[in-house]
């Protein structure tokens, strides 16, 4: 390419590409903005729009906690502390402490995968800001409670049954490790 034609080409390229770029940006004036006006200008709470698998702040349903310590063992950073002792007289497992340090929790979901009943599970709650690290500890046991013991047949206790069915549904959708659960959707 001779110098003159290169010179002319440079000008032409510059002008035409800028023209094209301006057309793209101009077209954006006519499109809707994408941003979400969090938190006060949304029709619903953002927590309600999050997908089921969203890994938010952990929650424990003590009613169906078996005290098996699977979650405590699965946790890579030891943010779950469970104290479960066998009562010498009643021969029952007594949960006297179930604390989760959600300041330390990294929301990996390994604990809720390990849970046999779906007792420990993630919620869609994510707004956990607080003023001190101590206040970020979730203490689930107020008074020592007896751990849940799986029954042979279906759960009959009307107080526990709905919680357990929720927990099992949670496990179903979470596709328990092992992969035995059927696929969530039909393949093409």
């Amino acid at each position: 390419m001779s110098a003159v034609s290169e010179y002319a080409h440079n000008i032409k390229d510059t002008v035409s590409t800028i023209f094209e770029g301006m057309a793209v940006t101009a077209s954006h004036f006519m499109r809707k903005p994408y941003t979400v006006q969090y938190p006060d200008r949304m029709p619903v709470r953002v927590q309600d729009t999050l997908p089921f698998r969203y890994r938010g702040i952990l929650e424990v349903d003590l009613e169906i906690c078996t005290g098996c310590l699977a979650c405590e063992r699965a946790c890579p950073i030891d943010c779950i502390v469970i104290v479960a002792d066998k009562d010498q007289q009643t021969r029952q497992l007594l949960l006297s402490q179930f604390d989760i340090d959600i300041a330390k929790c990294m929301y990996c979901g390994l604990c809720s995968e390990a849970c046999p009943t779906g007792s420990i599970h993630h919620t869609t709650e994510f707004e956990g800001a607080d003023y001190s690290l101590e206040s970020l500890i979730r203490r689930f046991v107020k008074d020592p409670v007896i751990a849940y013991k799986a029954k042979k047949g279906p759960e009959t206790d009307p107080r526990i049954a709905p919680i357990l069915s929720r927990g099992m549904a949670y496990l179903d959708q979470w596709a328990q490790p092992g992969g035995e659960k059927p696929a969530g959707e039909e393949p093409a």
Partner: protein
């Protein structure tokens, strides 16, 4: 070429300076005399049938009784790879640098020096790379104990959860 054939070829060339060939799956490797590693490296780089033009990975492993430096070589030309190892004493481990053969060794050797304390002789820039310059110790050594504080900054955060029982997990 298969990895084992490559290692055989090196063995034929260097004889007993190739100390050992392990055929263990999945990655067979050859243990090289630390004094010969540059020679072996250069041979593998320049030999037209091996043409190991890339030092894909260099890492150090601390085995409590020795320190190993592992070289993963790769040839883009022939699309084959091989693994070399040198075994070094745990006190003052030192081996010649491969920087002269593969430029990529420069940073990887700095990292090994930093984290495992292997000294690479003849390296152009043997400084710590990831840890601060004034850090004491080499963190990936198995006997490394993390200092409780660094420049007055605590390196540990006590868990605010107090176990109700004294049982240790």
């Amino acid at each position: 070429m298969e990895a084992l054939q490559i290692l055989e070829r090196v063995k034929n060339r260097f004889g007993d300076r190739v100390l050992e060939i392990s055929e263990k799956k999945p990655d067979p490797f050859a243990v090289i005399d630390p004094n010969a590693i540059v020679e072996v490296g250069r041979f593998m780089n320049e030999d037209p049938e091996l043409a190991m033009d890339c030092l894909s990975n260099e890492s150090g492993v601390d085995y409590k009784d020795r320190v190993e430096v592992v070289y993963h070589l790769f040839s883009y030309q022939h699309r084959h790879g091989a693994v070399l190892k040198v075994k070094l004493p745990r006190d003052n481990p030192s081996v010649a640098t491969l920087e002269g053969v593969w430029k990529s060794a420069n940073w990887m050797e700095r990292e090994i020096f930093d984290l495992l304390g292997v000294n690479f002789e003849g390296h152009s820039d043997m400084r710590r790379i990831l840890m601060p310059e004034d850090w004491i110790g080499h963190p990936l050594r198995k006997d490394f104990v993390e200092p409780p504080e660094y420049h007055g900054i605590s390196t540990v955060r006590e868990s605010p959860i107090v176990r109700l029982d004294t049982k240790k997990k």
